[in-house]
């Protein structure tokens, strides 16, 4: 999920914002695909030893949560049915849902794969008002996909998001200046998760005697600033239900800030050849995506999760920009070398690149570099036409023999290339 940011807490002119939030999205899609799963506790996860990505409401009733391992979830829900997720299916469904939303306004901002903001201020009169739009959207999504969503309506993004989270599944909640004071009076601050108040902030707020959203809005800004710094003012605005952040137009995506992949290994291992082979695979995928976006990176970050679930992460910024899998791999290896000799077996590897800059179509002084670039372009062309890793470095065979799970990472390029 994306981190929620709030703009200047200044009351903007009256706006009507909708938040459309798909309920238990991935699990609900799977229940639609397979009627035998309907009404049953379902957990969508990756292949092999991954964690739960989302759970159906039937599973949530047992306490199954995102991020649990399957054995953990099965302890509290023995009848849990694991289903391997299929991101293509979810992305394609999202894109089709966006088309429904775009029938009402072009101010549709994709907040995450299962959430969209809509600014219907200028168009609501054409459709009988915001409430009617919300009802129609819910009905259309249910008819087209059999899926349920919750819609929150409010004067800004923060309030519509709070409204959208209030009643699930299948909720429709309107918050306005008449009912906000009453609702905020009884709303615990931990319910503001998702609009910028995380569990730690909520805990700290409790510590200083602020227990409800209304109390947060009424708290002296100096008190909040003394505990939370510059964020204090923003937290106060949230408590007052103020936010003037605009809803972006559909297609105006924020620029990509980082590109990376992670992968849970088929089994824990301390075999350095296997680890490097997986690492190269992740770096090749990352490089392929970077080049696809026309970007180069200067920072590489490595994340390693060990068999005991402890983790290591380190980032390094280099003087030069890079976009090839080989170069990213070189950086990743450099970071990884600080862990050698390995004391624990590795469970998961993740690589991420940052400090991104538009690739300038660089030409190389030395022939061998130019040759490498040409080879990379040719390989990209083949893999784009025939599928990922049709042509690949020989070292990847080690990882393939060890077992590569079908989908490496959970981000597809398709979400960006509508």
């Amino acid at each position: 999920m994306e981190t929620f940011k709030i703009g200047n807490p200044v009351t903007a002119s009256a706006r009507t914002i909708l938040l459309v939030d798909m309920n238990a999205y991935f699990a609900s899609v799977e229940q639609q695909c397979n009627p035998a799963l309907r009404g049953k506790p379902v957990a969508v996860c990756g292949e092999g030893r991954t964690v739960i990505v989302t759970a159906s409401y039937e599973a949530r009733a047992f306490g199954v949560k995102t991020g649990m391992t399957l054995p953990e979830a099965r302890q509290i829900c023995p009848g849990l049915i694991p289903v391997q997720g299929d991101l293509d299916k979810y992305i394609e469904t999202s894109l089709r849902i966006h088309k429904i939303l775009l029938n009402y306004t072009d101010m549709v901002e994709v907040f995450s794969i299962d959430e969209c903001f809509m600014d219907v201020t200028a168009t609501q009169h054409l459709f009988g008002g915001a409430l009617n739009i919300a009802r129609e959207i819910k009905a259309e999504i249910k008819k087209e996909f059999g899926l349920l969503c919750s819609v929150g309506i409010g004067p800004n993004r923060v309030v519509s998001k709070i409204a959208g989270k209030m009643h699930k599944p299948d909720g429709l909640t309107v918050l306005n200046k008449e009912n906000i004071p009453k609702i905020f009076k009884n709303m615990p601050v931990e319910k503001l998760q998702g609009v910028g108040i995380g569990p730690r902030v909520a805990e700290k707020l409790y510590f200083i005697g602020i227990k409800t959203a209304a109390e947060l809005g009424e708290a002296p800004v100096q008190l909040l600033k003394s505990h939370f710094g510059i964020l204090g003012r923003i937290y106060k605005a949230i408590g007052m239900g103020l936010d003037d952040t605009p809803v972006a137009k559909y297609g105006d995506e924020k620029p990509v800030k980082s590109v990376g992949h992670s992968h849970t290994l088929a089994a824990d291992t301390a075999d350095i050849n296997v680890i490097y082979s997986y690492l190269l695979m992740l770096c090749e995928k990352t490089g392929f995506r970077l080049r696809g976006y026309g970007l180069t990176a200067r920072t590489a970050a490595l994340y390693v999760r060990f068999s005991d679930f402890t983790g290591f992460s380190q980032r390094k910024t280099f003087k030069h920009y890079f976009d090839s899998g080989e170069e990213i791999f070189k950086c990743a290896k450099e970071i990884f070398s600080s862990l050698l000799p390995l004391k624990k077996e590795v469970r998961l590897l993740g690589i991420s690149t940052g400090n991104l800059s538009a690739a300038a179509g660089q030409s190389f002084l030395f022939e061998k570099d130019e040759r490498k670039r040409k080879v990379t372009s040719a390989v990209d062309e083949i893999n784009t036409k025939h599928g990922d890793f049709t042509v690949k470095p020989a070292l990847l065979i080690t990882a393939e023999k060890f077992g590569i799970l079908e989908r490496c990472g959970i981000i597809s390029t398709r979400i960006w290339k509508k």
Partner: protein, 82 residues
């Protein structure tokens, strides 16, 4: 029973309507399987090829089949025999 990956070519009987192809039956391992409902459909890509996926039910179980728009091939990707 969990879904099993199959990934085998199949023959399919399909109605090409306004909303695109709708599978009515397919043969797999010499058995003709009548599709009783198409539960869900979506697209994916394999390189440049566009694949249409169908989650379908039959009396014998639930299946995922796909149609490659480039090669015009049908495949049974997954099966969950009841």
């Amino acid at each position: 029973m969990p879904a099993e990956k199959i990934n085998e070519k199949i023959k399919a009987g399909v109605v090409f309507g306004a909303a695109g192809p709708v599978p009515r039956w397919f043969t797999w391992r010499k058995k003709k399987i009548l599709v009783t409902s198409v539960n869900y459909k979506w697209k994916s890509t394999d390189g440049k090829a566009v694949l249409l996926h169908f989650a379908v039910s039959a009396d014998s179980g639930n299946y995922e089949i796909s149609f490659n728009r480039d090669s015009m091939e049908w495949k049974l990707l997954k099966s969950e025999i009841l």
